[in-house]
Amino acid sequence: AQTVTQSQPEMSVQEAETVTLSCTYDTSESDYYLFWYKQPPSRQMILVIRQEAYKQQNATENRFSVNFQKAAKSFSLKISDSQLGDAAMYFCAYRSPPHTGTASKLTFGTGTRLQVTL
């Protein structure tokens, strides 16, 4: 079974600064998806960024980028130019490719609470 580990329960960053959230995972599969989801107080999980394991290039979405190290099974999220609206819980998640037909669920880490200060 796949596992996802987030070792930072809380992180703090000043507005306009950069912060990196860590995530490691364990799997025996060679192809899979990795995600970072943001959960504000509204409770709705919002997709921040997605990485497909077969792609070597790190995904980037505006101020959000990842450092994907497949051999090390590491998937960290970098937030640049942090904004007050970035404050939330951030969850790293793993998913087997849908075409496998099995284990199509997302497996989440325990989350990192990000605080953004002035």
Partner: protein
């Protein structure tokens, strides 16, 4: 609808009562998931539907929990003889299968269940 809709948003019940939580997925999404999120934790998988059938119910904690999706759209999570330990946010998510699938799940805002 435009997004995944869950009702009720909040539910308070007494220990031993029966509870139903409803999820209306994004129109056209054939896959539907239920997750449970306890305070301070990440979401934990409960059950996954592909169409009307439960493709994977390995996350249901015991036989007090049951979910249905009779017409392949709306799903109901049913909890019998509720216990205080069932208190959590129950999240529903949906996704499209096939070539349009990008891997991500689309989530609703959850139903917060409090068992007194």
């Amino acid at each position: 609808g435009a997004g995944v809709s869950q009702t009720p948003s909040n539910k308070v019940t007494e220990k031993g009562k029966y509870v139903e939580l409803r999820c209306d997925p994004i129109s056209g999404h054939t896959a539907l998931y239920w997750y449970r999120q306890s305070l301070g934790q990440g979401p934990e998988f409960l059950i996954y539907f592909q169409g009307t059938g439960a493709a994977d119910d390995s996350g249901l904690p015991n036989d007090r929990f049951f979910a249905v999706r009779p017409e392949g759209s709306v799903s109901t999570l049913k909890i019998q003889r509720t216990e205080r330990g069932d208190s959590a946010v129950y999240l529903c998510a949906s996704t499209v299968q096939g070539p349009l699938n990008t891997g991500e799940l689309f989530f609703g805002e959850g139903s917060r269940l409090t068992v007194l």
